[in-house]
Symmetry: C2
Subunit: 159 residues, 2 copies
């Protein structure tokens, strides 16, 4: 059955959402109730080298002010720490704390489990092909979480 282009878009969104919702719920179940996908992505970016607010903003494609707000939350909750940069007094160096890494680790394993479930549902080869094709179509896009309203927000639904 030939679906419409709009359906395809919804399908993609739905796929992401079910993964993200499930991960968020599971993370909450494991005790990290205040962690949302944005936080996870931000910590990943920090780990990957975005060790100051301006740089984090660039990596996430948001303003540095927005990045600073996210950092403030992360810091408040003990997931990242900041200290001054000895080489550049303007900068505050960011570091993911042990607690932060713990969340990152759990998040990863949750997503991997979710992927395994999908694999069992449609088959290893099928999922691999789906990923390959999607990767071809999407290319390497910057993270671009953007205004993560529903990504960041508490996702209530049963979906």
């Amino acid at each position: 059955m030939p679906r419409s282009g709009a359906d395809l878009a919804l399908l993609l969104l739905g796929g992401f959402r079910s993964l993200a919702d499930a991960a968020h719920a599971e993370l909450a179940r494991r005790g990290y109730e205040d962690v949302r996908p944005v936080h996870d992505f931000a910590m990943r970016a920090i780990t990957a080298g975005a060790d100051n607010a301006s740089e984090l903003g660039r990596r996430l494609s948001v303003s540095k002010q927005a990045a600073a707000k996210t950092i403030a939350v992360l810091q408040e909750r003990g997931y990242v720490a900041r200290d001054t940069d000895p080489l550049d007094a303007r900068r505050k160096r960011l570091q993911v704390t042990a607690l932060g890494f713990e969340v990152l680790r759990q998040g990863e394993s949750i997503f991997d489990e979710l992927r395994d479930q999908w694999e069992r549902q449609i088959g290893t080869a099928e999922l691999a092909s789906l990923e390959t094709h999607l990767a071809t179509l999407v290319g390497a896009l910057p993270v671009r979480l953007d205004a993560p309203g529903w990504i960041a927000h508490d996702l209530g639904g049963p979906a």
Copy 2:
């Protein structure tokens, strides 16, 4: 190459985003600069029978107040009209205007064109299989656009 679960999620999100961004940009190019995906979805829901604010809220899984705000915008821009319901004086019946339908029509064709492009890139059978598998995995989820921060917002990036 076995990707991680998180990558899969990002791929899905990326797929949706590239479609949505392209559609939004093309719609703007065609002169509908103030239409965002949420508006499109809302109009679709209205056409599909959600002819009052409360019902629209239910269909979109948002509060009726949020739905009312969306309606206000849509009305302001002339995409929907409201009149009183002769059968129930509490209700304001919603109707998509001719202009609204025009946008809907254009949006559909844009998404279809985008899908065609994808089909040419990876092959008809491949795209169909991708859709089928995704549909299996996702199931029938309610629209649930949720807090459409970046869906609703003006998507600036080149992505």
